[in-house]
């Protein structure tokens, strides 16, 4: 199925959970923050959230900044 990740189309397997998506990025999940369809999802919830067609996900992390 197709979801949007950080503004770009991304095909993922049906039933992919948020935690699985996060792990696929190569970033340690504990360093990431996730928004699903504009709502912030707490990290404990990620294993329980199965993505659906058309979902928009934002994955963010801390970077250097002033």
């Amino acid at each position: 199925m197709l979801i949007t990740l950080n503004g770009q189309d991304k095909p993922v397997a049906d039933g992919t959970t948020l935690i699985e998506l996060a792990c696929q990025t190569g970033h340690p999940p504990e360093r990431l923050v996730a928004e699903l369809n504009k709502a912030i999802i707490a990290r404990e919830q990620w294993p329980r959230i199965a993505l659906k067609e058309g979902d928009s996900v934002e994955l963010l992390t801390f970077v250097g900044g002033g």
Binding site: G26, V33, L59, T61, G64, G65, G66
Partner: protein
């Protein structure tokens, strides 16, 4: 008696804050943090690049350092609030530096949007450090909103011009019952020292150190300058003396 920096009820042993942006070599960031003794660093939140894996900045920030999430990228209060919420969800505490900029030419902060964001986030329990153009009315509104400090800019971000706004910063130091942390535009340790001599509570430096040839050495110099300026302030600097005017006596009549 301790002279720690007191922010939102927490004590910090250093009055030097370090920004982590623009460091070409992340390892330098870690060494700079250690060499300067800073206890508060700013970080930003960005989308990860799903295609590339980058070292996470947090790897380079030692334990025990308070992360101050900068809402850079926000152009409105709403965006700043969203970023703050994201940072909190990341589990790294509730310290946020509000930076709302809708001006890509000068990078001047939007004081009005900053006040709005502060009102919302302070009410939600965040420790809010708002970055502003030094304006007395804005600062008073921030006090009322529950900010933990005010952060007036010294000069344009990245310009290294020092305390161009010194007279206005002085007004804030005099009138605002919150720590005044000078941020932006500080390019040399002498400028940081000057800010502390004036009575600023702390100073934040980023660009000057990040782009230096030897960031850790410069970070250490800055930290020492901040300490020197603070000690000068505490010791009570003598007033610059006016020259006496030669003119007809005003008080001769009192002792004829």
């Amino acid at each position: 008696m301790s002279d720690s920096l007191l922010l939102a009820g927490k004590e910090f042993s250093s009055r030097f804050l370090l920004g982590t942006g623009k460091f070409p070599n992340k390892a330098d960031l870690k060494t700079s943090i250690l060499a300067s003794g800073t206890k508060i660093v700013t970080v930003a939140l960005r989308r990860i690049d799903p295609e590339r894996h980058q070292d996470n900045i947090l790897e380079y920030i030692p334990e025990g350092i308070t992360l101050l999430t900068n809402t850079s990228g926000a152009r409105t209060a709403e965006e700043a609030v969203r970023i703050a919420h994201l940072a909190r969800a990341a589990g790294y505490g509730s310290w946020v530096k509000i930076e709302v900029i809708n001006d890509s030419k000068y990078l001047l902060p939007d004081n009005a949007e900053t006040v709005l964001a502060t009102q919302i986030l302070a009410a939600e329990g965040f420790n809010v450090l708002p970055y502003i153009s030094p304006d007395l009315y804005t600062a008073r509104q921030l006090v009322a909103a529950g900010a933990a400090a005010v952060m007036p800019l010294g000069s344009f971000i990245g310009s290294n011009q020092g305390l161009r706004t010194r007279d206005f910063i002085r007004v804030l130091i005099e009138e605002i019952p919150l720590p005044v942390i000078v941020d932006a535009g500080i390019g040399a340790p002498s400028q940081a020292c000057e800010a502390m001599e004036m009575g600023a509570a702390a100073v934040l430096v980023n660009t000057a150190i990040a782009i230096a040839d030897n960031p850790p050495l410069l970070a250490q110099a800055f930290a020492r300058a901040v300490t020197a300026g603070r000690e000068a302030f505490l010791s009570g600097l003598p007033e610059k003396r006016e020259q006496a005017q030669a003119s007809s006596p005003l008080t001769g009549f009192l002792h004829p």
